[in-house]
Amino acid sequence: MGEKVLIKGVEAIAESAIRAGCRMFFGYPITPQNETPEYMSRRLPQVEGIFLQAESEIAAINMVMGASAAGARVMTTTSSPGFSLMMEGMSYLVGMELPCVVANVVRGGPGLGNIAPAQSDYFQATKGGGHGDYKTIVFGPSTVQELVELTYHSFDLADKYRNPVVLLTDGALGQMMEPVIFPEMRKLNTLPEKPWALTGALNREKNIIMSFEMDPKILENINWELQKKFQKISEDEVKYEEYATDDAEFVIVAYGTIGRIAKSTVKALREENIPVGLIRPISLWPFPYGVITQLVPQVEAFMVVEMSAGQMVEDVRLAVGDRRPVFFYGRPGGMVPSPRDITEKVKQCLSMLLS
């Protein structure tokens, strides 16, 4: 432990999951996340785990459902088109209150799109995505180390709340190598007990896991119970990074890959004595509305930067209301803005504010 290794994001997800006690992986090939299943296919047999390539993403998420119902720590990874195919299964998983971790290495869309980095699945991940009233916890890491830590943490959160957790990342972070320190290998006998799991009703009442209730009155109550859980998660699991916001009069909000690129912008503008700061949401659901709202009195304007045509900006506008302007700069289709692009946009916005 403690030794730093240089590793790609998509491989780091796999190793970190194994460290967290994940021994079951089901997936279907899709670029740019193939290295995750490939790594799992090498590594899992070495730790008495199971890797199985499913015949489709639909099958993969349903295999995850089965393993989770049986009490296993289980994961799948995919990229946008495959994530879409998993939406039915995700809705069921939430309804059945089954824990699992799903990584979506987002690529350019819509449709087949391309394999370049994008953030255009934000709505799909944070607002439910499938049918029914539901939420999944969503994290948007911005360094490989953070990806490692959040992957590890996601398994605990999934079990804690009996709910799927989504890691929303992209090929830029996925294909990049950075030095990381992995957490210790979790001892399997320290994982949480799952008395609800389907293990055979030997000397106990039978367990039934389903997302089905014919009586609307009862289903309504089940839904309110789920909503209470989501409410609790919104209160307890918000994560974000604040950078140079103390005296900031202009605040950029960006997550994931763009979150770190925007940090370079802030550094550059600070060198010119322009009081700019950064809020980098780490949990995308629950979204850190609070910290943004708190900054409103101090800040002249906000700017949201995304690799999409504008999705998270709606959450920022919810937090800000019409009290301050919220500018938006986005590049859809797999384009990645550079720190200089963002710097120029900030300056444009600042001059608009002056005039």
Partner: protein, 246 residues
């Protein structure tokens, strides 16, 4: 001087993106020749898969649609049923596309006797995504997701599509061919022609499975890849017609 070998008229004058030695190009050409010969260029609609041949639309002077991964037979059904009956609709699919994620769609199209033609390219792995296990990967074959070789206990047995298809009453023709030498190419061409002619005659679903290579992802030379098709793939996947004749 009289030219003896020309580009089929239904094909674009364009260099393909396929890796050196890959058989997709040969198979494209055979389809082009058959379409020319049957005189159906202006009536034919192609349905592209997701896989290396997702770019097939660029090589033909034909209408084409690129559908979601595995769903080509369903889309082809929609096209075929929306158009006058003289239109010819074919799908071109790889083994991941057809035999894995799209197995339900191909089976139901076949069972409905959908009057379409499917060209199925079996290269024993997922080419586009970098050489992962396919349903058709041979036992013991190493791929990027079967790093210890395909094992029965993990992934079961290689999937036999041509034989499976021959069991459906709606299927007019099902056969398996290869394209690594001139003799094999002539037989494959004949089969593709039959599969298109059946559709013109309203006979129902026809499928031609073509054993193909993938030297880059198999990490072997082109000549070794051909040897692998001949010696290993043919041993698992016998060539021949499993349903329907001329």
């Amino acid at each position: 001087m009289k030219p003896v070998y020309l580009r089929p008229q239904s094909m674009e004058d364009r260099i393909t993106h396929y890796c050196p030695g890959c058989h997709h190009g040969i198979i494209h050409r055979l389809i082009g020749e058959v379409i020319d010969e049957l005189g159906i260029r202006g009536k034919t609609i192609g349905v592209a898969p997701i896989g290396c041949s997702v770019f097939i639309y660029a090589y033909f002077k034909l209408d084409f649609v690129v559908t979601p991964h595995g769903r080509a037979p369903a889309a082809a059904t929609g096209i075929k049923r929306s158009l006058p009956s003289d239109r010819i609709v074919f799908t071109y699919q790889g083994d991941g596309d057809l035999a894995s994620i799209g197995l339900a769609e191909i089976i139901h199209a076949a069972n409905r006797g959908e009057n379409i033609t499917s060209i199925f390219v079996n290269n024993a792995n997922y080419g586009m995504t970098g050489g992962q296990l396919a349903p058709t990967t041979l036992l013991g074959q190493i791929t990027t997701t079967s790093p210890y070789g395909r094992k029965i206990a993990v992934d079961g047995y290689p999937f036999h599509i041509a034989e499976l298809m021959s069991n459906f009453k709606g299927v007019a023709y099902s056969g398996r061919f290869a394209v690594y030498d001139p003799k094999k190419i002539i037989s494959a061409r004949k089969a593709i022609k039959t599969a298109f002619k059946n559709q013109m005659e309203g006979k129902g679903f026809s499928i031609v499975e073509l054993l193909s290579n993938c030297p880059i992802n198999w990490r072997v030379s082109v000549s070794d890849s051909i040897k692998f098709v001949k010696e290993n793939m043919e041993a698992e996947f016998p060539l021949g017609v499993f349903k329907g004749g001329e």
